[in-house]
């Protein structure tokens, strides 16, 4: 404190400082306690204040000839405002204000540098050494990164999610390459649909043997071991025996999944809903379980023949 005070009268002999410099101290509560006990009375030219609000402090910082601080946060702001600044501490976690030249550190333990540092600072012209990206858009970049990250993690799932489009609209600040679905995937969808349609939305299952009509025709085979054998033979055979004799069943669950996919894909504009969804609905209605008053569907799967 004494060294700082010594530095200031020296500074006033500097032609740039033609007035006596008033020392104002303010800031954190901790400091306030210390100084209240330490210097007690109000010295000439020194104004002690209670801790100040953000706007008041900003205003004082902007109009000051010099800021002396040990606060990293004040220093950053002062650097941005271009006010000369001396830092009173031995180390700094934010050397950027030193690098860009708006500030000099003077260590606590050294005997003389305060005076020199203060003089140097006062003799300097005000200039802004503003680091890259200190442009008031840091928060926007943070949000951008968080949203991008979220999309990367869930891109394929989100593409089929009805919320995807409004979320993207809300983040209009994002770069255009941020799509809900990548183009590669989008190109594959029509091909897959065409294939499924050509196969009448039905296919083979590794455990088709469990549903085979052969068991109904030959009851003596319908016990655990023969079924297991037939299942594994069909499943492991390099030839698709089922292509000859087996009629692929229509599975209502599969049709319902297809239908739900159409509706979602049509909502984000990948397929046209009209031409596919209506026949699917009819098909689903036709597969309703008979003899029950409610709308329900059943599928048969004898999973116990799995190995």
């Amino acid at each position: 404190m004494q060294r700082i005070a010594r530095g200031l009268p020296c500074a006033s002999s500097n032609p740039a400082a033609n007035q006596g410099i008033r020392i104002r101290s303010g800031g954190s509560a901790r400091k306030h306690n210390g100084i209240a006990q330490g210097s007690g009375n109000r010295r000439d030219g020194i104004i002690l204040t209670d801790p100040l609000g953000y706007l008041d402090f900003l205003c004082l910082m902007k109009h000051a000839s010099l800021v002396v601080t040990d606060s990293a946060a004040s220093r950053k702001k002062q650097q941005f405002l271009g006010t000369p600044c001396v830092t009173v501490r031995e180390n700094t976690e934010r050397p950027v204000t030193v690098e860009s030249g708006t500030k000099y550190d003077c260590g606590e333990q050294k005997q003389t540098p305060s005076t020199g540092a203060i003089r140097r600072q006062l003799g300097r012209k005000r200039e802004n050494g503003v680091p890259k990206n200190w442009d008031g858009r840091a928060a926007v970049r943070i949000i951008d990164t968080l949203v991008r990250r979220h999309y990367e993690k869930t891109s394929s799932r989100l593409a089929l999610c009805p919320h995807a489009v409004p979320l993207e609209d809300r983040c209009s600040c994002l770069e255009p390459n941020l799509r809900t679905m990548d183009n590669h995937l989008e190109a594959k969808i029509p091909k897959l649909l065409a294939y499924c349609q050509a196969n009448n939305w039905a296919g083979y299952d590794p455990y088709d043997a469990a549903n085979s009509k052969a068991f109904a025709a030959l009851p003596f085979l319908n016990s655990r071991l023969p079924r297991l054998v037939l299942t594994q033979v069909l499943k492991r055979s390099p030839l698709n025996i089922r292509a000859v004799a087996y009629r692929r069943p229509k599975n209502p669950k599969a049709i319902a999944l297809f239908l739900s996919a159409f509706l979602k894909l049509s909502r984000i504009g990948v397929v046209k809903a009209g031409d596919l969804s209506e026949p699917m609905i009819e098909r689903l209605v036709a597969l309703r379980s008979q003899g029950v008053p409610h709308w329900c569907w059943d599928t048969v799967f004898r999973g116990r023949h799995a190995p």
């Binding site: 404190m1 007035q19 205003c59 680091p131």
Partner: protein, 115 residues
């Protein structure tokens, strides 16, 4: 997911509780938003993977830019009598030259001899 805004700052003095908090938080975070390029290097030196680190700038400057104009409306200079009244020759009010001092570090203010 943990994101750390103002990551990568280092004083390299582990006797400061802030320093320990900074290091700890950086190492448990999934996303690290650094305010300056040197932050990148500090984190890389500690073995933090590059894809977690994002150089986004300084949110403190965001708020400063937002409130800069409003701060000009502050009457603190008048309250502390740091404004010279207009002279008889009609000159505009001018701000007295003053230095602003603020200290809070224990090493600066807790010991009366040093202070």
């Amino acid at each position: 997911m943990i994101a750390h805004v103002e990551a990568g700052l280092r004083s390299f003095d582990r006797s400061m509780p802030e320093e320990v908090n900074r290091i700890l938080t950086d190492h448990v975070s999934d996303l690290l938003f650094v305010t300056r390029r040197a932050g990148f290097q500090n984190l890389r030196n500690e073995g933090i993977s590059l894809d977690k680190i994002h150089f986004v700038g300084n949110t403190m400057i965001d708020s400063l830019l937002n409130f800069k104009e409003k701060a000009e409306a502050s009457t603190i200079l008048e309250q502390l009598a740091l404004v010279r009244q207009a002279g008889k020759n009609g000159a505009a009010n001018s701000v007295t030259r003053y230095a602003l001092l603020t200290l809070h570090r224990p090493s600066n203010v807790d010991n009366q001899d040093i202070f």
